[in-house]
Amino acid sequence: MRKRENRGLLALFYQIGIITLFLGGFLVLVVFGAVSYRSAEAGKQTDDHSRAVLSYLSTIMTTNRGNEVYTYTDAEAGVKVLVVSDSDGENGWRIYVHDGELISDYALLDSELYPEDGIALGPATVLEVTRIRDDLVAVTTDEGTVYANVSRFRGDE
């Protein structure tokens, strides 16, 4: 009688063990899947963002390489502005950091900055423009550096 009871208990533990093993394995699989998904998604977002910023800067600079490119410090906003003028010489793209975002607005070059009307390219803390030669400039943001061969660069240093 006692032996039969023991055998019943053993079978119960065996079943509980199997169920625990399955549930534990399932849980580990779900957690691993979620971590992998989050990691892939974070990588994709970083990748998309760096591609968007670097491609934008590269495209703007190289498609207007015959036009004037210069930097100045906006006294009111207190930020360094990279200006890529359009072929008419009156309008152009102004690229600068405003409230932790890299902004690009297209406007009259002598007008004040309009970050609200500009395109937010993404989060940024740094915008450095380095003159390597008169016709070669390096633009560095948080995402990396873009080199552009322009007809003439004028820095504000």
Binding site: G25, G33, S36, G43, R133
Partner: protein, 151 residues
């Protein structure tokens, strides 16, 4: 009869466990390949950026020697010469963040050869390699040194 039922029960449990392990292995492989694909996409983006930057430096240069000087940022480049076809290869190394570094994560080769059509024209092939030496991206361009004038 009872023994037979017991054996069938154990057999069923083992089959279920086998299936579960198989599914776990397949799913783990899918997750890992997802991570690797994401990493490769990031490397491709970096490689395109490095190749474009190199192409801009090629465009800004006016001779092979000038190009070698422009491409060398903080001692991250070496010039390989003496190949049979007279071409010159400048090998640059960058870290994971695409910053010039003697410790190479990305290796960029800019091979400058003669185009064969005009004397002042040169074919330039920019190749970007990953840490395993596998080619990620190639950018080919032709440059005419005479057209570039520095002020």
């Amino acid at each position: 009869m009872k023994n037979r039922l017991n054996r069938l029960y154990h057999l069923e449990t083992f089959i279920l466990m086998g299936l579960f392990i198989l599914v776990t292995l397949v799913l783990s492989r899918v997750f890992i390949s997802g991570r690797l694909l994401s990493q490769k996409a990031q490397q491709l983006t970096d490689a395109v950026c490095l190749a474009e930057n190199t192409a801009e430096l090629v465009r800004a240069s006016d001779s092979k020697e000038d190009l070698a000087v422009l491409l060398d940022i903080g001692g991250n480049a070496e010039t390989l010469t003496g190949t049979q076809d007279g071409s010159v290869t400048v090998r640059m190394s960058y870290d994971r963040d695409m910053k010039p570094s003697p410790q190479a994560y990305y290796t960029v080769d800019a091979r400058i050869g003669d185009s064969g059509e005009r004397k002042d024209e040169h074919d330039v092939a920019v190749r970007v390699y990953d840490p395993d030496g596998e080619e990620i991206y190639v950018l080919e361009l032709t440059v005419s040194w005479q057209e570039v004038h520095h002020e």
